[in-house]
């Protein structure tokens, strides 16, 4: 069994780790759920331009005086920082598909060892629709997957091959869970970091995907800071 961690610790650890990936000036789109938290952990001194696919760039935190005419893709009220702007959905997805967005962070139901993602439908159960996810993962230069290592019932989410209908083929470049960080390059998955509370054997047990192990295998970056904060 994998150790049970507090839900807040899980979310914070994943968000914080992904935030460390971003560099000065990058344009980033954050999905709903854990990905939204990433903006809270951007290291001091690093300036990131956040894009919201419903039509805003230069997205900042919620303002003191809420205005329902200024919302993010998850419906949260946002502010627009100086230098930001609003635009229509066609321009927004032009920016996304056109490769003008450096990175997107999304949650997922399943991810495969070759970077396939399935995160928009469970046939026969829920039909929420793909929203902007399919365009984002195809258009953004890097796709970060923020996910718990297993489902609530303990089933593996990091698989050899996705079983649910795909969002896109071979697009994920990094998968961050509360216990592990994997990179996917040229169709091969590599475990580069793990949390100290699990062994490599435990990760193998709860990860169906085949992966290489980096040497040295490092502890998850930013963890100590996240948990003492």
């Amino acid at each position: 069994m994998l150790p049970e961690l507090d839900e807040c610790v899980v979310k914070e650890r994943i968000a914080k780790r992904i935030a460390l990936e971003f560099t000065e000036g990058q344009v980033v789109n954050l999905g709903i759920g854990i990905p939204t938290l990433v903006s809270d952990y951007i290291p001091e001194g690093v300036h990131i331009i956040f894009q919201a696919e419903n039509g805003a760039i230069g997205v900042g935190p919620a303002p003191a005086e809420p205005d329902l005419r200024c919302i993010g893709a998850g419906g949260r009220i946002i502010s627009i920082l100086p230098g930001g702007s609003f635009f229509a959905s066609d321009t927004s997805f032009g920016l996304i598909r056109g490769g003008h967005v450096d990175a997107t962070v999304l949650g997922t139901l399943e991810v495969s060892q070759t970077g396939d993602i399935a995160n928009w439908v469970v046939p026969g159960k829920s039909v929420p629709g793909m929203g902007g996810a399919m365009d984002l993962v195809v258009g953004a230069k890097k796709v970060y997957i923020a996910t718990t290592h297993t489902t609530k019932k303990g089933a593996a989410k990091i698989l050899k091959k996705c079983t649910l209908p795909l969002t896109a083929v071979g697009v994920a470049s990094m998968v961050v869970t509360e216990f592990a960080v994997f990179t996917i390059e040229n169709g091969r998955m590599t475990l580069i970091e793990k949390s100290p509370e699990v062994t490599l054997e435990q990760i193998r047990e709860h990860t169906e995907a085949e992966f290489d192990v980096a040497d040295p295998l490092l502890p998850i970056k930013g963890m100590e800071v996240a948990e003492s904060a």
Partner: protein
């Protein structure tokens, strides 16, 4: 039919008379933002049914055009995301309503194509997923693209911030979203606005939607969301 140079400013109830049973309508908005609430409420009260509705999402069960779905007025929805309105999934799963899902960037581009005279367009979004089922996949310069076809409607209900008497429109914040594209892609276009100003009062450099596209103007009402968005 030639549109009037000076647009009639009418009540929402008068305006929605042009929507007939069995029509295809477009409704602007993303989540709760930028929905023509007053028009949609009037259409709800008019009871017009058997409609095909093209809208990014189906809002919420009791909000905006989500009410049209919940009341069974819609025979088919074309959208990118319907997860916020439980009735949409319920009616689709029970066979009561048809549902066509398009990735959000594809969705808006299909409307743009419909409004701008294109026979379709090629997008990489959805390649290798069920989105490509039944569609032509073409290879251009070594990359695969799906041929996506245009969308048009009988009537578009859009939401803007201000109009001048000639129907030129400007928008506010993230309310813009799908509205400008939809204003190009329907035979009859009705715009709901905060206020109507004299011709010449809007700066030609900031007008987003050209008045030649608009048939009628409606000043927004005082409902909870109409007054706040």
């Amino acid at each position: 039919m030639t549109k009037k140079i000076i647009k009639p400013v009418v009540s929402a109830h008068e305006a929605v008379q042009c929507v007939k049973k069995g029509d295809t309508i477009m409704v602007g908005g993303f989540n709760y933002g930028g929905i023509p609430y007053t028009l949609v409420d009037a259409l709800y009260e008019a009871g017009t049914d058997e409609l095909t509705m093209i809208a990014n999402d189906t809002a919420y069960e009791n909000v905006g055009h989500g009410k049209l779905v919940a009341a069974g007025r819609i025979k088919k929805v074309i959208a990118s995301h319907v997860g916020l309105n439980k009735k949409t999934g319920e009616y689709y799963n029970s066979g009561k309503m048809e549902l066509e899902l398009s990735p959000q960037g594809t969705f808006v581009e299909r409307i743009r194509a419909g409004g701008f005279g294109l026979g379709g367009f090629l997008t990489p979004t959805g390649v290798g997923t069920i989105v490509e089922e039944g569609k032509q996949v073409l290879e251009v310069n070594g990359r695969k693209y799906i041929l996506e076809l245009p969308l048009r409607a009988d009537v578009a209900l859009v939401r803007a911030y201000k109009a001048d008497r000639m129907g030129n429109l400007i928008y506010k914040g993230t309310n813009r979203n799908f509205n400008p594209a939809m204003a190009t892609a329907a035979d009859i276009v009705i715009a709901e606005v905060d206020s109507v100003v004299d011709v010449g009062e809007l700066d030609p450099d900031v007008i987003v939607t050209q008045g030649i596209l608009i048939d009628m103007l409606v000043v927004k009402g005082g409902s909870y969301y109409a007054s706040r968005t």
